[in-house]
Symmetry: C3
Subunit: 116 residues, 3 copies
């Protein structure tokens, strides 16, 4: 059976806890081998990727979930708009030119869309 | 013609009025025989399914819309997270192990996604 | 190659700046000739289509983006619910009986869905 696929869209920082919880519940329920998950952050939500003390919980989760195959993505437009130097971000975070393009292309490939 | 299909996703209690209004408008516009509608509640939004005085308006709508075929779904993870005993909920509400899995699977079957 | 297609859904006025910014970033990234974009407003968000001083920025953007092919849509149910006379709106804005129906039908035709 073909794996199911999903993009989670986050554009507000206060949604990080629910996005991360949703991703974990999905993996727990389906098994990490049965689902392809991408988390696409744009707007101000990209700022939680910055290696700063306030973001420790998000960053630890990003590292742990990346290790089992979840792909975390940042929108370059949003990084620039929030004056974040992409070189400061962890290598595990994928940078794309535009988060919205990514959301459109993935859905055209059969990914489901969830906006927590 | 194959029926159109849609999942409404709700994860915040204050969104219940707009979700219910959207569902009614969709049925009024398309005809209940032409559309399959599922409402998937996760996060704190499952608490409006509890048979309590404050939830009367939601529950009455859930009963009326269920009677014409709309399926209302609660995420078990969210029920447990909000310490809600699923045995207290109306039988018309379908319980699924994880709301996010339901959102992914339905979209993979061709359901549209709407987050009011 | 078939053009990619996307509907942006907006139902809150304060989301207009981010929706318009997302649309511009998508066009800048993909090229206006490679993407079909519809912006579907329902709920209170239709009120920003009204030709009033406070809405100047939204309206100017709607005109400019319409000129390069973006389609802006208003839900008639929502116009009536917000006591807005549709005859006062610019001709560039398309009126549909129900925004939710439009969201379902377009997704059934392969449009991606983005809720900023």
């Amino acid at each position: 059976m073909e794996k199911l696929k999903v993009v989670f869209h986050i554009n507000e920082n206060e949604k990080w806890p629910v996005v991360l919880s949703n991703v974990k519940n999905l993996i727990k329920d389906m098994g990490e081998e049965n689902i392809i998950i991408k988390v696409i952050a744009n707007g101000v939500a990209v700022s939680c990727y910055m290696p700063e003390p306030d973001n420790q919980r998000v960053i630890r989760n990003v590292e742990e979930l990346s290790a089992i195959g979840v792909v975390f993505i940042a929108c370059r437009n949003s990084l620039m708009g929030n004056r974040i130097d992409e070189k400061t971000l962890s290598d595990t975070i994928e940078i794309v030119p535009a988060g919205v393009t990514e959301l459109v292309k993935r859905q055209s490939e059969g990914y489901a869309y969830i906006k927590p």
